[in-house]
């Protein structure tokens, strides 16, 4: 029987999980290596709902390994690149997706981080600047002069090669 590890979420709730599953997280693995499995592992930066989602990913990838996503993306449709389950897994609200990204970054789970980042990249790929701003509710803090400068720099770089 595998060892169980107790994770404490941001809300203080305890989630018990198989040690083998959570060892995908470099952070948790190092904490277990340091303190052992007997001590509870506090994860103050991860909410319970996100932690459960992360653990769901960890369980699934253990049985269905995910190949590394090719960079740069060849397609704006993630389903063309990865298995359907993974595409569905990250097909969530933006807020949730960003929480997953932050949790994956905090827990240092590379496959999950790559998957979620690839999902965000597909949301940007092929869209105009205005669409990107609109999609992510980003305020344009560039002055017209600065925008012109960026355009000019790109133009200059193109001319330099030609």
């Amino acid at each position: 029987m595998s060892t169980m590890v107790k994770l404490i979420s941001q809300e203080g709730e305890i989630i018990e999980v198989d040690q083998e599953t959570v060892m995908l997280s470099v952070l948790i693995k190092s904490m277990i290596d340091d303190s052992g499995t007997e001590e509870d592992i506090p994860l103050p930066n991860v909410s319970k709902s996100i932690l459960e989602k992360v653990l769901e990913f960890c369980k699934h990838i253990k049985e269905h390994p995910l190949q590394e996503i090719e960079k740069p993306l060849k397609s704006a449709n993630l389903r063309d690149i990865i298995p359907e389950w993974y595409d569905d897994f990250v097909d969530v609200e933006q807020e949730t997706l960003f929480e997953v990204i932050l949790a994956a970054n905090y827990l240092d789970i590379k496959p999950l981080l790559e998957l979620a980042c690839a999902k965000v990249a597909t949301m940007v790929k092929g869209k105009s600047v205005l669409d990107v701003r609109k999609t992510f509710n980003i305020e344009n803090d560039l002055t017209p002069e600065e925008e012109a400068q960026i355009l000019e720099e790109n133009k200059w770089a193109e001319e330099a090669i030609q």
């Binding site: 470099v26 996503i69 960079k71 740069p72 993306l73 609200e93 933006q94 807020e95 960003f98 990204i101 932050l102 970054n105 905090y106 240092d108 590379k110 981080l113 790559e114 980042c117 690839a118 965000v120 990249a121 597909t122 940007v124 790929k125 105009s128 600047v129 990107v132 701003r133 992510f136 509710n137 980003i138 305020e139 344009n140 803090d141 560039l142 600065e146 925008e147 400068q149 960026i150 355009l151 720099e153 790109n154 200059w156 770089a157 193109e158 001319e159 330099a160 090669i161 030609q162």
Partner: protein, 436 residues
């Protein structure tokens, strides 16, 4: 960019919050926190978003990066850096190991004025915005820092006139090694072949800036999808360096029109010029002209030779391959050659190793009317042209007084001793009766 940057692989020591970003979030999603919670989340996001954005932007190609750079300042900052990473990775693929060299790119960043240095496999980012903030990344992107160079190095091919360039900088040597399309003579050619090429004009482009070799091999296999500023920086830097290198080569005798009327004048005019004096020397390689139209008049040869104060030692024979004209450079002791010179201890040959230009003019019809043979040049500790050695100590302040003339005196002596011929005078010279 191949690979990703996790929070462990990149340690950002500075406060990332220096990046000023506003992520407007007017919409409220189900389960979203209130204003207070949102503000807290926003602050947290600002701190953590930077490394995450790098991961997201990893999936963009250069075209996408240029596009998202126009979204906001944060995106501009990250996209610019990511583009730099991508190009740096390409450069590593294309060149030999760049991690041993130092490359700096000044970024006209909109967030702050940034300076990014790639030094020995580490990235140093310096921002100046009122207070100085330095970020040091312990390692380059994992894909960059661990990816070995896959392309075999191209063997160094240099024209023989530059054979004594010291091995001073690996970056320069790497650039040199990629000059595959250089119209340089092949190694192991005899001096006779080299001279023939000079006479025929096929080697003259070595001196022309516009014909300098391309930096990158034409058949390199990475996809150059979008040009970037780094390409231009790389190109400019290389050409500037090569130009500087060429400018360090000084020719004492300015043009082929110069001719020397007798051995005494040559002996009077031949002096040793220390390399420290060369920055003030008025002649540069750009002033050199090889007049290939005057086939029958003169032969100019650059050759690395050794002077020990009394004679030039070199055992290479040069045949001009012209009717009745033979130019021979013989070494009485026959114990030195270019290759042997390189084996000599630096101390021994540092001062005496120079390029020597030999102008061979026969039966000058000038006012002296004397015959001039190659022996008069051989016997002299001649330096008709001088090659500066960058490896030498060029600190003028530490110069000890020496017997060498300074440049001004030399120039004065040159004016007195050398009789410059014009092109018309050179016509009709007979090279056939030159003494060996």
């Amino acid at each position: 960019m191949g690979g990703c940057c996790t929070s462990q692989s990149i340690k950002i020591k500075a406060k990332v919050s220096v990046v000023h970003t506003t992520i407007a979030n007017p919409k409220k999603y189900p389960g979203q926190r209130g204003i207070k919670g949102r503000s807290r989340l926003k602050n947290r996001k600002q701190i953590k978003l930077y490394p995450v954005l790098i991961n997201i932007f990893d999936y963009f190609d250069l075209e996408d990066l240029e596009k998202v750079a126009r979204v906001c300042k944060l995106f501009c900052s990250v996209a610019t850096m990511d583009a730099l990473y991508q190009k740096f990775e390409q450069m590593i693929d294309d060149t030999s190991d760049c991690r041993s060299s130092r490359m700096s790119f000044q970024m006209g960043n909109l967030v702050d004025e940034e300076r990014i240095d790639f030094v020995n496999g580490k990235i140093r980012i310096e921002r100046n915005s009122g207070m100085k903030i330095i970020e040091e990344l312990d390692s380059i992107h994992p894909a960059i820092s661990t990816k070995p160079s896959t392309k075999p190095r191209v063997s160094v091919i240099r024209p023989p006139i530059f054979n004594d360039i010291p091995e001073e900088e690996s970056e320069w040597n790497d650039q040199q090694s990629r000059m595959t399309d250089m119209n340089a003579p092949k190694p192991n050619r005899s001096i006779q072949q080299i001279l023939n090429d000079y006479i025929n004009g096929s080697e003259l482009q070595v001196f022309k800036r516009q014909d300098l070799p391309k930096i990158i091999q034409e058949n390199n296999d990475f996809n150059r999808t979008k040009p970037t500023r780094i390409d231009s920086l790389k190109s400019k830097k290389f050409y500037k360096k090569l130009s500087d290198r060429l400018n360090q080569t000084h020719v004492f005798s300015e043009a082929m029109g110069d001719a020397y009327t007798d051995s005494q004048h040559i002996n009077d005019g031949i002096m040793t010029i220390e390399s420290q004096e060369l920055p003030f020397f008025p002649y540069s390689i750009h002033n050199f002209r090889h007049n290939q139209n005057q086939r029958e008049n003169s032969i100019s040869l650059f050759r690395k030779m050794q002077t020990n104060g009394s004679e030039i030692t070199d055992n290479n024979q040069v045949n001009t391959d012209r009717e009745g004209s033979i130019l021979s450079i013989r070494n009485p002791s026959r114990n030195s050659s270019i290759n042997k010179l390189k084996q000599l201890p630096n101390v021994g040959r540092k001062r005496n190793s120079h390029f020597v230009r030999l102008d061979l003019i026969k039966n000058l019809p000038g006012r002296f009317g004397s015959k001039q043979s190659i022996h008069s040049i051989q016997k002299a500790p001649s330096l008709v042209s001088i090659r500066e050695h960058p490896g030498e100590d060029n600190n003028i302040e530490t110069l000890q007084p020496s017997n060498h003339l300074n440049v001004k005196n030399i120039i004065g002596q040159k004016r007195n001793s050398f009789y410059p011929m014009d092109k018309n005078q050179l016509k009709g010279l007979d090279l056939g009766s030159i003494k060996e």
